[in-house]
Symmetry: C2
Subunit: 420 residues, 2 copies
């Protein structure tokens, strides 16, 4: 279908959705959660086609795994949709209420953004996740999934449409671009008459494409070169736990640790203890010369001298960790400022002045004190769910939940007030 028509339909649906009350939106979400289980056979059949095609193409095992739906995964997806139904509705919230000296009554009222364009790759659960968050926040959404899961997405969107109809909400509130030609992505990025916000969910290349070609605001994020600085005043036992967790608990995600900075004073004691933990998971360490010397003495088996031209600026997404010794808080801060992507950076320290300076000067979407960077997540931060983790500096930073999918309008009430 023509993208202009998809856009017009989305705009029209977004107006209806913006006015829909919470009960109706929740009814649609519950209907969707139910339908994911009732229609399980059709969805799994469609997904099996995608999987068969991917296998025929010789796709890698981890790709196939991400693509594959199972009854358990559908249950998890239904559970997530139901959880969104349980979250508070941000739309209509009144805030910043005031009465001006001239008697005008002023407040802001939260409204949906309007129409979202979400571009993502092969992970069918994103389809229901994003649809649920958009619906609850009163936004229409145009989905552009990968060609690899087109059959799965078609089946899922059909189920979403049934749920919308059951709740008497417009099916056009969730539309899928079925044409998998890459030119459609570029067209979507220019659809500024009908789309208010583009949310890319994918790698660096997708984000760059969106930033360079979109005439619509884009949420940039989902990439991190994250640091933890272990200060001389750190509680070393806790620092060990935090660093180990940040690196190994899920190394393939954007809030995992990239580079560890250790104060020279404690490095000789701290690094060998850390090595004893990291070796269990075969973490490769890319070290500056001083850290290398200490870790070589400790007999760590997976050591490399860091290539300073590239290693400090690489998002590993793997069991690799950069390690560098610094002589001061200043050096740590300067290093982080030079290399961070402003996703998640942290400090382990006990001295309140050191902590305060770190918080003041490090300007990432989330700054952690004696806690793992892995907490930078909508669920962990209590938002209930997230549509993205933003590393840009306007609209929203860090995890974006339902509230971050809204805008606001000013309401100004008078009694014949005029301005001369």
């Amino acid at each position: 279908m023509d993208l202009q028509i998809i856009g017009q339909r989305a705009r029209r649906a977004s107006r209806q959705l913006a006015r829909a009350d919470t009960a109706r939106k929740d009814a649609a979400l519950i209907a969707l959660a139910d339908a994911l289980l009732v229609c399980q056979d059709e969805i799994l059949r469609a997904n099996a086609e995608d999987v068969a095609q991917a296998k025929a193409r010789g796709a890698e095992a981890h790709f196939i795994d991400r693509l594959t739906l199972t009854p358990q995964r559908l249950q998890a997806m239904a559970h997530d949709v139901r959880a969104v139904a349980g979250l508070p509705d941000p739309v209509g919230e009144v805030f910043d209420q005031t009465v001006l000296p001239n008697g005008l009554r002023l407040h802001k009222r939260r409204v949906p953004i309007g129409v979202l364009g979400v571009i993502y790759e092969a992970r069918p659960n994103v389809t229901t996740d994003v649809a649920a968050l958009a619906l609850k926040s009163g936004n229409a959404v145009i989905l552009r999934g990968g060609s690899d899961n087109l059959n799965s997405n078609r089946a899922l969107v059909q189920v979403i449409h049934q749920a919308l109809c059951r709740a008497e909400l417009p099916a056009d509130a969730v539309q899928l671009i079925e044409d998998t030609d890459r030119a459609r992505v570029l067209e979507l990025l220019k659809l500024s008459d009908y789309v208010d916000l583009i949310i890319p969910r994918g790698g660096a290349a997708l984000h760059r494409l969106c930033r360079e070609h979109s005439t619509i605001p884009v949420i940039t994020g989902g990439m991190g070169i994250n640091h933890i600085y272990v200060d001389a005043t750190a509680d070393q036992d806790k620092a060990l736990d935090v660093v180990y967790n940040a690196k190994v608990s899920k190394p393939t995600v954007c809030n995992a640790l990239g580079t560890l900075l250790v104060h020279a004073e404690i490095a000789p004691a701290f690094l060998p203890r850390l090595a004893a933990r990291l070796v269990e998971r075969a973490v490769e360490l890319r070290c500056d010369p001083r850290a290398l010397a200490i870790l070589q003495s400790a007999g760590y088996p997976l050591l490399r001298l860091a290539d300073e031209a590239t290693d400090w600026d690489t998002e590993w997404l793997a069991l690799i960790l950069g390690v560098k010794i610094v002589d001061s808080l200043d050096e740590a801060i300067a290093f982080i400022q030079a290399h961070t992507l402003e996703h998640s950076d942290g400090i382990c320290a006990q001295d309140p002045q050191v902590i305060a300076r770190f918080i003041h000067e490090i300007d990432s979407s989330a700054v952690f004190v004696n806690a793992s960077t892995r907490f930078n997540d909508g669920g962990q931060f209590g938002l209930g769910a997230e549509v993205a983790i933003s590393t840009q500096r306007i609209h929203a930073r860090g995890p974006m939940g339902l509230r971050e999918l809204t805008s606001y309008k000013w309401v100004c009430e008078g009694d014949g007030h005029v301005r001369w």
Copy 2:
């Protein structure tokens, strides 16, 4: 100077500015306000060159007027800068504080956006206004003024640099692109490594240029096709005042009234009374057939049948008013939704249910009830000052003051917390 270098310097300065305390920023602002008066002669001399060049080019009188500085205007500019010094500093504000069930302490902390790029036309006061707002909110700014006021802007930026130096803040916090080649604007719009937000201050063409070419987020705004709907339940005396004020108090600005909608029930009484007011200011009325008939009977001298294909979608910026009779609130809402640019739309009514529906369904940056659309302004809304009025739906809508020039970071404090 090379724009890459300007960008790098701005980024560096923005880091220093982000850490500057309120007293230092205010000291720079006070120094600037003082210097605008002390250096009056140099500034006026530079401005006289711009004015002479504009006159030699045969520029129109209103253009020359906007361009011209006088001692009184410099005093007003100094007063505005001083007012910004008196506003509360948004940077460092802590909000959304919470303790999670696992004991993690979470809050958000307001931080500057970083580096702003402001593109504007011939009005030298914008230079000091924008510099003051950027400085107070901790942002560095790259200014691209029009070629028509290059000499004035050079002189003003020199004064700004002196003030920054006096307060020991980096001069690079405010930089002017002196090369007036249009290609520099396009280059600025692609400087995404160093610039975080583009704020165009000018007409529709400038906004379109920015939206289409920028790889940096752009604040869209500053244009309005604004409506007031006079309901059958309106207090007609108050509605007369509101409509008259919204149209004639300053017709050249974006919050002025564009189209008046009147309920059919009261139109025969209301329109002739309104006409009796509007005739004083020779307002031209472009009417739908029913309104035309009523106003012809009333003998209004400046009537035209509206061209429905264009008149409802034109921003007049002049003493012209569209007038249309509607039969219901529904019709008024549908008409506004079809033609508004979502800047400022209002209703005059007494029935609370009618008012509630209007507020619920009209989704403009500001919605007015029994008050003039002319109040959509940072100063009027109590923000102290404004850098723009946004009509886009992300980051900020309506008047943007100091707080709207900030972002936030999450701060998450634990005691060795990890996530498995």
